[in-house]
Each structure stands twice: as C-alpha cells, then as structure tokens.
Amino acid sequence: MKKIKARALSLLADGTVKRVLGWERGEDAFDCSPALFENEAEMERFVYGTCAGANLSKYCVKMGKAEGKTLVILKPCDTLSFRQLLHEHRVERDAFYIIGAGCTGMMDENGLLAKCAACKGKEFAVYDEIIDTEECRLPTGTEKRMEQVEKLENMTAQERFAFWQGELSRCIRCNACRNVCPACTCIKCVFDNPGSGVQSKAPVTDFEENMFHIIRAYHVAGRCTDCGECSRVCPQGIPLHLINRKLIKDMNELYGDYQAGLGDNERTPLTSFTKEDAEPGIIHERGNG
C-alpha cells in the first residue's frame, strides 16, 4: 500500500497533520508494531499490509490530547471503534485526520486472524479519505459471526460450564484483553482499585477469572463493536470474543439490531429502554437450561 504512505508523507509535509499513527516494520513479515511517526525520516519504517491486525483506535484516546492533528490509519472495523469513542466523547473528531485503509483480511503466522474470518464488512464508519482497491471491498472470511455462539447455546448448561472452565482456567490475568480494548477506557478500572474489594492480580481461584471476564465483557456491552482484539491479544488463546458476541446477539434479538459505532445515536441498548421490553424471565424460556 504505497499510496497510503505517500499520502501520509504529503499530509505531514504540508502541515495538515503533526504526526502519523500507523505501523512500523519489524523483524519479519508478520512483525509490525503500532508506532508514531513525526517526520519523513521516521516514515521510512512505515508499513501497512496484512500484518496490521492491531486496532489503533485505543491509542487515539491518549493521542487526542497531543497538540495538532494526528493522522491515523484505520481499517473498516477499526473505524467502528473510533466512532464509538466519538459517541462516548473520548476522542475529538477534529484532533484526527483519518485515512480509511482498505483491508483484505489481516494475517499472522497462523493465517487469517479469527476476527477477520467473521468480517463485519468493509464500510468505513468515519473517515476523511479512503485509500483502498477493488479487492479490499470484498468481505473476507466465510464464518458466520454468531455461528460459534449458537453452537454454545445449544449445549447443555453443564457442557457450557465445562467449556468455559476449560478456557477461562488458562487465564493468567495479564489484562491484555482489557488494556487493548477500545471500549475499556475507564481512567481507573475497578479491578485496579484497591477500594473496590475485587482488586486482584492473579487468578487465585476459578471464580476470580469468571468474575473478571464477566465484568469485562458486561462493562463493554452495547459499546463493544466486536473488533476482536481481546481474543487476538490473549497470550493463552482464550476465545474471549465469544462472550462479547453473546451479549451482542442477545441485544440484537431482544432490543433490535444494533451495531456499536454505527448511527448517530449515542444511546446503546443498555442505556435506553422501551416500556415493552422483555422480562428477565425470558432467559428461562430460551435454549437449553
């Protein structure tokens, strides 16, 4: 994607932007890290390609406080996160120049990323300009987004419990899922707050992992755009996005279709209501008990 680099260089040169938030080339084809470029010399290491799996929206929260405009490269799914942050007033639109970068599905050493296998589409939710190709507009992946959630729903409660115990017991409480999440923008997380009574740094018992992951997913319910970063970064390979997707699926079914980061309404399903909402008892009537 030479076009993106060239455009970034020219925006940097004419002073439209002060810095570029993009990716930096690393040791090999799959090794690239988010980085900040402030001049042409630094831009020499700029790279955009199939290794750019990381969602840069989270960095925008911090970067928005810097002086002058920041150019940020966002993939279609990343723009949803960015727009959701706009809804939440965590970033200022004026502080950023957004290049919507076309995406053909991101890879790591093991092939297409899981989040790209269930691609949500190639529309940009927010941008100043788009740089892409025809090929980038085709959806990637073949997996239906809710396929695995449905599979779990069809299990018995005991099977589900066994499945999640198996997955969550591997958690090492490194907090990568929380720290990478563009929706997790609390200044002080309840799990870091000694006064909360639930602060903990280690998976002492099974319960603590449960509690952490339930609250983590629940706290972003309605704001989670399903960007899939939580599962991508997990060093233990726990499919955390399946918890978030369950919440999304429930919200869609009970309160109408909703995609965080789309639309102009700042109200999420959990910060709004109708008088005719289903009673909580409805969960007793659905699926397997």
């Binding site: 090999d28 890290s33 990381a54 591997r170 090492i172 409480r173 740094k201 970064v233 060093p235 390979g237």
Partner: protein, 338 residues
C-alpha cells in the same frame, strides 16, 4: 553417558513414583502440568505457553493465615512444600531462568517457600535439537545443547541420550532402564545444534554496553519513548517470562480469617509502585524502561554480569503489539555483532 529408546519415554515417566511435571497440552496451550499416563507430552514445543517457573514459584500461593479476635491476632504459617517431584523437559533457557530465580530467592535472606520447592525437585533438562526463529539464548551464555539440569536428555531420532550431573540426577537416572552409550554421538548432536542455532535471525545480538557501567547512558537513551509508545501496559510479557519474579503480597478476607498470599505482579502495571503520594514511575515509558533495564542492565550489574533475560523468545511470541526485548537490544545496542 546412557541412552534409551524414545518409545520407552512415557513408560519411564509413568514409572517415577514422585509427581512429574512435564510439558503437556491444556486446551491448545502447552504448560508444565502434572503428567499422568496417557497424556500427550509436547516435548517438541519451544517456548511453552506457561513456563516451568510456575512449578517453583506459582502465580499464586498462600503464605499464612491470621485469625483476628478483638485485639488479638493468631498467626499460622502455611506449610512449606515437602513432597519430592520431578520437573521434566526443561530447556536450557528455562533452566538458566531457574538459576536467575535462585539468585533472587536463595540469596540472603532465603525465601523458604521457594527454597522448599527447589530442594524437593529433580530437574530433567532437554537439549534443543531444533531451536526456532525466536531463540536467542546463546547471547546470554546459554548453550541450547546443554541445559544446566540434574539430568539432561538429548533427543536423537528414535532414542534419547541421557546423563546425570548431580546426586539427585543420579538417583533418578539409576531407577531407569538405560543402556551404555557412546559420548561421541552426543558431541555430534551438540555440534549439529550449534550449527542450527547459528543460522537463526537473532542468534548473534550485540550486548556490548548492557552493564552497570553504562547504566545511566542506557537509562537516558532517547529511544525509550519510541520503543514504549505502543505498549499497552498489560502483563503478558511479564507473566510469560521465565525469569520475571516481581510479586505482590496481599491479604484476603475469607470471612473466617485473613489469608495472606503472594501472587505475581508486573512492573508494567500502573499501580506497581503507587503510594499514597503518587507513583515514581508515572507513565508507561518509565514502566517499560524499568522492565528492560532490569533484565539487561540492573540485574547483571548486581549479579556479576548474569542477565535476567535468557533468550527464550516468549515475549516475541506473546506481545500483542510485537514489542519485545530483541527490538530493545537492537535499538539501544551498538548494532550487530561482527
């Protein structure tokens, strides 16, 4: 030097009367877990998802219990480990990591919780017949072909060569049904490993200047800002690292007493040094710098040049944003070694 047929390995492990901790699969990841006959051993896995450090220094352990009654306190210590066990299949890098932990926990005053576990374990090392692209152990004086363990195994096709180096090792090996073997075969294996290692991308990093004498120079390097920019401040590098040993001590009110426990902590966390008057490493830059400075400069400065990085490559694999120690060494160091 002794040897035995590779197919007999599981039988040998099952025959050990003590608990055996070995690299086994746990839902897609490989951990050093309690081995039971029939489990699939993953001796092929380099940089296991969880490290053997956990056997000696678990992520969580109870230290003591308190009963509070009015103004009185009653203290009960947690019992120290007292069961012999075997830690099997430890790579040279992880073995060196255990030496690093020894430096910390066994130096005066001795940490008796760690010491008890260390004392009761017999460690069986495993030579790396196929070091991978993330390996860079030799930079830190680790020989992938010669783990510094009680017993060492060298895989060679359909057999394993083995040798015991300590009393504990001999005691273990004597119980095994092995055959006399020729030293030369192992020498050839070691040479082969050395050649494979030399062809790796990070095989020869330049560590000049990573020592106490250049402490301030490295500390003040302008590179840290760029290096740390993308750091999320998570603990995946710390918790995947075989040498990271920082811990926290906390109290938990169980409703019928107070349990004081210790758990791993990470210098990458914002509350690591937080005190009533603030934190002395307020931003991620300082915290990021602390972790790498500790491994590459502070620790060797205190420990006769022994680095607390062992080149296992786990942080290269685990960092969500691909920030890792090789990048730090290259950015701060003096280029490639000739």
């Amino acid at each position: 030097m002794r040897k035995f047929a590779a197919e007999k390995l599981e039988q040998l492990l099952s025959g050990i009367s003590m608990p055996v901790y070995a690299p086994v699969e746990d839902g897609g990841t490989v951990i050093y877990g309690r081995y039971e006959p029939g489990m699939r051993l993953r001796l092929d896995k380099l940089g296991t998802d969880r490290t053997p450090k956990e056997v000696l220094f678990p992520q969580w352990e109870s230290l003591m219990h308190f009963k509070m009654e009015g103004k009185k306190i009653q203290l009960t210590e947690e019992e120290r480990a007292n069961e012999d066990y075997v830690l099997f299949g430890v790579r040279a890098c992880d073995m060196q990591a255990i030496r690093v932990l020894d430096r910390v926990f066994l130096s005066d005053p001795v940490d008796t919780y760690y010491a008890a576990r260390r004392e009761h374990g017999t460690i069986v090392g495993l030579a790396c017949d196929a070091p991978g692209k993330n390996c860079f152990c030799k930079n830190f004086g680790v020989d992938p072909a010669q783990p510094d363990a009680d017993v060492v195994l060298w895989p060679a096709g359909d057999e394993y060569f083995c040798e015991a180096y300590t009393d504990k090792g001999h005691a273990l090996l004597n119980g095994w049904d092995t055959l006399e073997a020729d030293e030369c075969a192992v020498t050839a294996i070691k040479e082969e490993i050395g050649k494979k290692y030399d062809a790796l991308p990070f095989a020869h990093l330049n560590l000049n200047g990573f020592d106490g004498e250049h402490l301030m120079e490295k500390f003040e390097s302008p590179q840290w800002k760029k290096l740390s920019m993308a750091c999320l401040g998570c603990g995946s590098c710390t918790f995947s690292c075989p040498t990271c040993q920082c811990y926290d001590i906390r109290d938990y009110d169980t409703g019928n007493g107070i349990q004081r426990y210790r758990c791993w902590d990470s210098c990458m966390y914002s509350d690591f040094t937080l005190m009533a008057h603030g934190a002395n490493r307020p931003t991620q830059l300082e915290r990021y710098r602390q972790r790498f400075m500790h491994k590459l400069v502070y620790f060797p400065s205190r420990n006769e040049g022994m680095y607390s990085c062992v080149g296992c490559g786990r942080c290269i694999e685990k960092c969500p944003m691909n920030l890792h120690i090789v990048k730090v060494i290259r950015a701060l160091g003096e280029g490639e070694k000739e």
